[in-house]
């Protein structure tokens, strides 16, 4: 199935009648995923957004429950209301990061009800990249910039560049495509030849190798330039660490959870002031190890999807892809057990 590029606004309007459609919209000189409306200008192609689409499923601040203090208090859960949503036009790297977050929030004995609710209400339309940024290296991390296997609907630019080719992959996807009856016609084959400009040679068993490199001298060299800010974690699509805090208004208040960064100094600070990760070396080591080794041990896949956002936005110009190459090439000394 395909529809004309010029009908894009029409497609979004029909979808917007029943769903809240999150599309890549340029506003305030920033391209980000936000609810679509008539006046907004959607930019499907071009580079990926700075802020990842994870805040649609895992919002920056999420109120969990309301409470009242004192002798007869109450606890009342605040559950996200059920609005059907569409994540329209996310790239394969962001789709893969949503898969990783599914594994974290929906498996291993406990299900995060907030995330599960938003995930069930969301239908995801992935869009194959037509242009790779200079810091994109998703192919070296085993992804295909033209195809997102786990998306509900896969959308690509057609070979002749006139229309968008749709391919529904799940019943949610079929249901969505059925709603676009009038606008789509059959046929059309997609153009899937975008390549990543940045190719890095990552060792096959990098996660096992890194697991033995905890005391390797590479860490002193690599982490020196870091200034310990939270930029890389807040632009990263697969960072899901959160903090739980509360705000009080008089006798009542609400408990909320919000994004947190393992790079901040008080992330692991204990009550007595002790801190297992006192300096930025331990913190950055923990972040790289989590992305490239710990997550493999626990969930079986690498957590870095190669979207290149942290490489682009790091103030100290640190580069995880350079680290991957250095770590893949480093030989293990005697001190690595």
């Amino acid at each position: 199935m395909k529809f004309k590029k010029t009908d894009l606004n029409e497609v979004l309007k029909t979808l917007a009648r029943e769903y809240t459609v999150f599309a890549p919209i340029v506003e305030n000189e920033e391209k980000k995923f936000m609810p679509w409306a008539e006046s907004k200008d959607v930019e499907m192609e071009g580079l990926n957004t700075i802020k990842p689409p994870k805040d649609v499923l895992f919002p920056n601040v999420e109120k969990m429950y309301r409470y009242k203090m004192g002798l007869e208090g109450f606890i009342e859960e605040i559950f996200p209301e059920d609005t059907k949503r569409i994540l329209f036009g996310i790239r394969p790297c962001d789709m893969r990061s949503i898969d990783s977050m599914d594994k974290v929030f929906l498996t291993k004995e406990y299900v995060d009800s907030y995330y599960a609710k938003r995930r069930d209400d969301a239908t995801i339309v992935a869009f194959g990249c037509t242009e790779a940024g200079r810091t994109c290296f998703c192919e070296s991390m085993g992804l295909n910039p033209n195809d997102a296997p786990s998306a509900d609907v896969m959308m690509n630019v057609s070979a002749d560049g006139e229309d968008y080719v749709l391919e529904a992959r799940t019943e949610k996807g079929e249901e969505l495509v059925k709603k676009l009856e009038g606008l789509i016609t059959d046929g059309g084959e997609a153009k899937k030849d975008t390549k990543c400009s940045l190719v890095i040679n990552k060792a096959e068993d990098l996660d096992k190798k890194l697991a033995k490199m905890f005391e390797h001298p590479i860490w002193d060299k690599v982490t020196k330039g870091c200034i310990g800010c939270g930029t890389c974690t807040f632009v990263c699509p697969t960072c899901y660490c959160f903090d739980i805090d509360s705000e009080n208004y008089g006798a009542e208040g609400c408990k909320y959870r919000c994004w947190d960064s393992c790079m901040f100094s008080d992330y692991t600070r204990l009550a007595g002031g002790a801190n297992p990760r006192p300096t930025k070396k331990e913190r950055l080591r923990n972040r790289y190890m989590h992305k490239l080794s710990y997550f493999n041990e626990r969930y079986g896949e690498t957590l870095c999807v190669g979207c290149g956002r942290c490489v682009e936005k790091c103030p100290a110009h640190l580069d995880i892809s350079e680290f991957i190459e250095k770590a893949s090439a480093a030989e293990l000394g005697k001190e690595d057990k």
């Binding site: 429950y65 109450f74 929030f105 498996t107 907030y114 660490c241 739980i244 992330y267 989590h290």
Partner: protein
Amino acid sequence: MAIDHECSCSKNPLVPTLCKVIDVKQETPDVQTYTIQTVDGKKPFSPLPGQLAMISLLGVGEAMFSITAQGDDYIQSSIKRTGLLTEAFHEMQPGQQIGVRGPYGNHFPIDDFKGKDILFIGGGIGIAPVRSLIRYCLEHREDFGHLDILYGARSMNDICFKEDCLENWPKAPDTNVYITTDVPSEGWDGHVGFVPSYIEEVGFKPENKKVALCGPPIMITLSSASLLKMGFKKEDVITTLELRMKCGIGKCGRCNIGSKFVCLDGPVFSLAELDELPDEK
């Protein structure tokens, strides 16, 4: 294809149930034991020995505490006054409503302990999680061999659960209790000395014996060193870790050591498991 959710709890794991404190017992000048029931007088949950509960004082904060004892309609937790939140806990009066969620964490490996002699070592407030195991072993006394309880506290009036340590446990069948204090205090004729040195002084034999060890980090490192010196194997020494925990369900990424989460895969680890983890403790 959304992943099908398998989940071991019916409701939202992050929202606590409303409970109330029905009794506050002053164990020592800075430790209090709270007896907790749900608002309609039932047990919030029945934890296994060594499991934790996230207890929140609404409006102040929440933190993870071990459940030291349980009855058929209450659970008990002992909290030492160390920070802002625990300070507020110590101002609680019976009837105060709090939020409780859990049980979290793995528990002491009871099946491995069955049929073995057990040495319980507790330091200061570290006796609280160990006590949950001691009470379990005393309730199922026939499943376990000889019990030794070694408990070190700062001074005489810092000894928690005095009636257990000084009256009930010594009377229990085939159980000897060794209590030591760091400094001599008047009215105390028992042993004086640190736990690691007291372990070597008594000289426990490692054959067919498991160790449950819990206390301040320095005591754990020194005690496990002297235990290994006496021939105990690393898999037989079980300890609990204390890290900052926020969600309690292995999602928020806060309490990770390597790829393991202390709140979900721990807090109970054997020394052998701890060696495999990167030493970031």
